[in-house]
Amino acid sequence: MSMVQKSSGTTHIFLRFFTSLRRLISRLPLHIILIGAALLWMTPTFGLLVSSFRPATAVGSTGWWTAFQTPFQFTLDNYSSVLSQNGMARSFINSLIITIPATILPILVAGFAAFAFAWMKFPGRNALFIFVVALLVVPIQVTLIPVLRLFTDVKLVGTFPGIWLAHTAYGLPLAIFLLRNFFGSLPKELLESAYLDGASNMRVFFRLILPLSVPALASLAIFQFLWVWNDLLVALVYLQSPSKAPMTLTINNLVSSYGTQWQLLTAAAFISMILPLIIFFALQRYFVEGITAGAVKG
């Protein structure tokens, strides 16, 4: 029994429309939840952004959502005063001074060690590697007191080099873990042929391994950069001089003073966020890949 039916053009279109409408409706809750969540997530930050453009009087007296009704009272005063006074500009530079070396150094140091762990044979290699990675466990709090004392003794308290060294050390376990896994995944034949060609370890490291590891290095650099830039505790403890304070520290001090300074807080917070946000957006892929490579593969 065969029923050969030619459905007419219009009924066909109708049917298709209804099925897609039905599909859309059944997926509506999905969209609502997801879009709702995204909005919810963005609102706090958005509120801050709007507040940062409002004059002091407005910030203290009305909510930021009212800024979209007349009279429109937008101003750049907050940003200009934050940048010129309160040492914000100075803090921004300090943050840079602290973060950039504290990003490059650990990558180099970890790179050397990871190379040894990945491609060199020596007794206790596996055990040592596990030990180093296990150090991830150590919360910074445990190290603060002795290191602070050490720094005081060698007069490294409140100096940039001191904090560079500290951040480098703190970043090493994760860096060695990530880089060793990545180096290990490079094809053995590549290194072997370089060796046969007479290359020394140094040359292989700088000319072969590093260039091939750009994705992993990028991930690591982003992690470390964001971590150091956003750090408060380490700066609070080791870097006690206000002239060298990074943005996180300065903002923290601002927070403690209520009332009159709130409008500046908004601009300050946003300025401190801009650089990480730009880096995050530009290099999002590496960041995400780095996390997942570390976590999913274990």
Binding site: M1, S2, V4, H12
Partner: protein, 367 residues
């Protein structure tokens, strides 16, 4: 009962047409093999039957039921995936029992079916193991077992042998055929390997670029291909094709290949009359080219001379890659044939099995 039918089914993915106006009826209890090169639409057609894809237009029937809007789980079909797709966190037993437990089949019944299927497939000792502890061949059987316990109206198999090593593949082919006979259920099998198609199928459907090329029994496709594509696809090594001109002479019709001429047997000469002085595609299989010393008796023989390019001795046969000017072709001759690269030798064409195709339509002229 469980006949599967495509009626004017088309499936588009954006701009690409994966399946183009497919009309195909798969009778109940057949072992149908959908065969064709990569991208020809065979896997898509299978997925359309399973419900994992929906047709852009057209109707699909399983039994007498129109199943276009029916979810995969309600179509009473079972599928074996190319990668087996076993549930890695479940034991072999649970893998096989999963579908039944979802349908709330009573436990004793589940046990019975799983045990029976395991027995048939020879995997009873593996029931408690996890997939990652099994070899490729064992995993494949579990995938089969998972399908068998469902007692479906049709089995859908998507290139199940491609991940097995050559020896296992040959062994499993035979086992699948036996399984089909034993179960008596419709098998719809997708592969790109025409050997699998020829050995296992009761019906073969050849597809290319989304279009159905020919449907029929394996031997029919071999002896009477509908078009150049089917002729060249079925049979390994592939058929030799020559662009020739049909000429008429006092002795009858013959084909002029430039460097050689071959006469056309009387039965086929009549059909080619209309093509005098026109170009056609002449096809002849390597196994229909013999060495004169060792040719099979009773064939309609025609001699030609050509130069040997490369030889491959296969133990029981000799593959000769021949060159006749710029035309190259392959001959399968007796292993004892004396032939060396560079030699010019005489070969015999069995014109009784010749094929002729229209140059434009690529369709056979001999039906």
């Amino acid at each position: 009962m469980a006949e599967v039918r495509f009626e004017h089914v088309t499936k588009r993915f954006g701009e690409t047409i994966a399946v183009n106006d497919l009309n195909l009826t798969i009778p109940d209890k057949e072992f149908l093999v959908l065969v064709g090169p990569s991208g020809c639409g065979k896997s898509t057609a299978l997925r359309l039957i399973s419900g994992l894809e929906e047709p852009t237009s057209g109707k699909i029937y399983i039994g007498e039921r129109l199943v276009n809007d029916v979810a995969p789980k309600d179509r009473d079909i079972a599928m074996v995936f190319q990668s087996y797709a076993l549930y890695p966190h479940m034991s072999v037993h649970d893998n096989m029992a999963f579908g039944l437990s979802l349908r709330k089949t009573p436990k004793p019944e589940i046990q019975r079916r799983v045990r029976e299927a395991a027995r048939v497939l020879g995997i009873e000792e593996l029931l408690k193991r996890k997939p990652r502890q099994l070899s490729g061949g064992q995993r494949q059987r579990v995938a089969l077992g998972r399908a068998i316990v469902r007692e479906p109206a049709a089995f859908l198999l998507d290139e199940p042998l491609s991940n097995l090593d050559a020896k296992l593949r040959v062994q499993t082919r035979a086992e699948l055929s036996k399984l089909h006979q034993r179960l008596g259920t419709t098998f719809i099998y997708v592969t790109h390997d025409q050997v699998e198609a020829m050995t296992m199928a009761t019906v073969i459907a050849v597809m290319n670029k989304g279009l159905l090329q020919q449907v029929g029994k394996p031997q029919d496709l071999y002896e009477r291909p509908d078009n150049v594509f089917v002729a060249g696809f079925i049979g390994s090594p592939a058929m030799n094709f020559f662009d020739v001109t049909v000429r008429g002479g006092q002795d009858g019709v013959y084909l002029d290949a430039g460097t050689f001429q071959v006469p056309v047997p009387k039965e086929k000469a009549g059909i080619l009359d209309k093509y005098l002085d026109k170009k056609i595609v002449f096809g002849i299989r390597p196994e229909d080219i013999h060495s004169p010393e060792y040719m099979a008796p009773g064939i309609i023989a025609t001699s030609i001379r050509a130069k040997v390019d490369v030889t491959e001795l296969m133990g029981n046969e000799f593959f000769l890659h021949m060159l006749s000017d710029d035309k190259s072709f392959l001959a399968r001759v007796d292993a004892r044939t004396p032939a060396r690269p560079g030699q010019e030798i005489e070969l015999v064409f069995n014109m009784g099995n010749m094929q002729a195709f229209d140059v434009e339509t690529q369709k056979t002229m001999l039906s």
